[in-house]
């Protein structure tokens, strides 16, 4: 997948999960990729002010050597501003216009940062972008066109090879009889049918083992953090350990039990119900 498209998708998830009104990637303190509820001049003003704030916050290294900045958090009655430093050049700036849940905000930014750090080459490419002279639309379009052009070139190459092959074969081999062709088709069909059966068997086996994608654990933890706050991670890890859950061999029954145990830790009934509803969808 086009890495810029993936970046955009991850940013959209971040915005949705934190209920932010503004979130954006800033490169060398300049806004690069922004998703915002604000428009026009208001959006431009916010981008500018956030940009200045990021710039000032980076000076902390001059105040205290090797401070190793991780994030900046500012809170008011009805607003939270969160700046997360991915590296010296790239930051995420987010604004939430309601009573914030700090633990959730931090978790979501860490998830996004980790996803980016899994692609060091792309991260490096981002760090070197000249934000003022390039637009994200161009990057998305450019990459897609390049990918399409490459695919077309590959197809043309293969066609040429096939043509050459056919030319050579035409002069040497005899044209096969109709019976031979029919027999060939039958053999081909039998082979495909056999492969399909084996595939079905494999899928059945996997289903019967009830193994679940370990990413489900992350989602459950996220939902739990939403309902219980900063202490959630501690309780979550303890429960996983107590239930002897192996993330690499997750079974449906493990997940069901974990959700039940976590739900017991939520005191308020409406929050418990919300947690159960959200996590049942995952199953």
């Amino acid at each position: 997948m086009n890495p810029f498209k993936e970046l955009l998708k991850n940013l959209e998830n971040l915005k949705e999960n934190t209920e932010a009104s503004f979130t954006g990637i800033f490169i060398n303190t300049k806004p690069f990729l922004v998703i915002s509820d604000y428009e026009g001049k208001k959006r431009a003003n916010i981008e500018e002010k956030l940009s200045h704030l990021i710039e000032k916050s980076l000076e902390i290294e001059e105040v205290m050597e090797d401070f190793g900045k991780k994030y900046t958090y500012a809170e008011g009655e009805e607003i939270a501003i969160f700046i997360f430093y991915i590296n010296d050049s790239i930051t995420i700036g987010t604004i939430i216009e309601k009573k914030p849940r700090f633990a959730l905000i931090l978790l979501e930014h860490e998830i996004m940062s980790n996803k980016l750090k899994e692609k060091p080459d792309f991260l490096k490419e981002l760090s070197l972008l000249d934000v003022e002279n390039i637009s994200i639309e161009e990057l998305l379009k450019d990459r897609e066109e390049k990918i399409e052009t490459k695919e077309v070139e590959q197809e043309e190459e293969e066609e040429e090879k096939t043509e050459i092959y056919v030319e050579k074969d035409d002069t040497i081999e005899e044209v096969p009889s109709l019976e031979d062709l029919i027999q060939e088709s039958i053999e081909e069909y039998k082979k495909l049918h056999q492969e399909e059966k084996e595939l079905e068997k494999k899928v059945k086996e996997e289903r019967s083992s009830n193994y679940v994608d370990p990413v489900v654990l992350e989602h459950i933890e996220k939902e739990f953090v939403k309902e219980i706050g900063p202490i959630a991670k501690l309780i979550f890890n303890r429960k996983v350990s107590e239930l002897n859950i192996n993330p690499k061999q997750l079974k449906t029954e493990d997940i069901v039990l974990l959700i039940q145990e976590l739900a017991k830790e939520i005191r308020l009934e409406d929050r418990k119900e919300k947690f159960l509803n959200e996590t049942n969808d995952l199953l």
């Binding site: 916010i46 105040v63 205290m64 190793g68 008011g76 607003i79 216009e97």
Partner: protein, 119 residues
């Protein structure tokens, strides 16, 4: 009055396990400070006033009232800046293993005391 401010700052450091504290005027000058030797009082003061002010500009743009507090977390610890009405900024430096809840509570208490001292 300077002695009183220093007393308040020392109490925050003692009770919250902080490493240092500084009281800053709105234009970024230190009023009082109790800081480690390797930390430049003027720089911390200027940083505190500026960064809180820049954060407040974002809040003002969105008409969301005042920004109560701003802190920067690093591998070395925390730098926490708390606005005291329009009168001053209280800056506190804390180690990475500081108990944030206790720290914020003590800072709030200190901010109230300073507000009373400043009248």
């Amino acid at each position: 009055m300077a002695r009183n401010f220093n007393e308040v700052l020392n109490i925050v450091i003692r009770d919250a396990g902080a490493e240092g504290a500084v009281l800053v005027s709105p234009d970024g000058l230190a009023i009082a400070s109790v800081l480690p030797a390797n930390v430049d009082e003027d720089r911390v003061a200027a940083m505190g006033a500026a960064i809180l002010s820049l954060g407040e500009r974002v809040a003002t743009e969105l008409e969301k009232g005042e920004l109560e507090q701003l802190y920067v977390k690093g591998t070395k610890g925390y730098m926490i800046f708390t606005g005291i009405k329009d009168m001053a900024v209280l800056g506190v430096l804390a180690p990475a293993d500081a108990k944030l809840g206790l720290l914020l509570m003590e800072i709030k208490r200190a901010a109230k005391q300073i507000e009373e001292l400043l009248g």
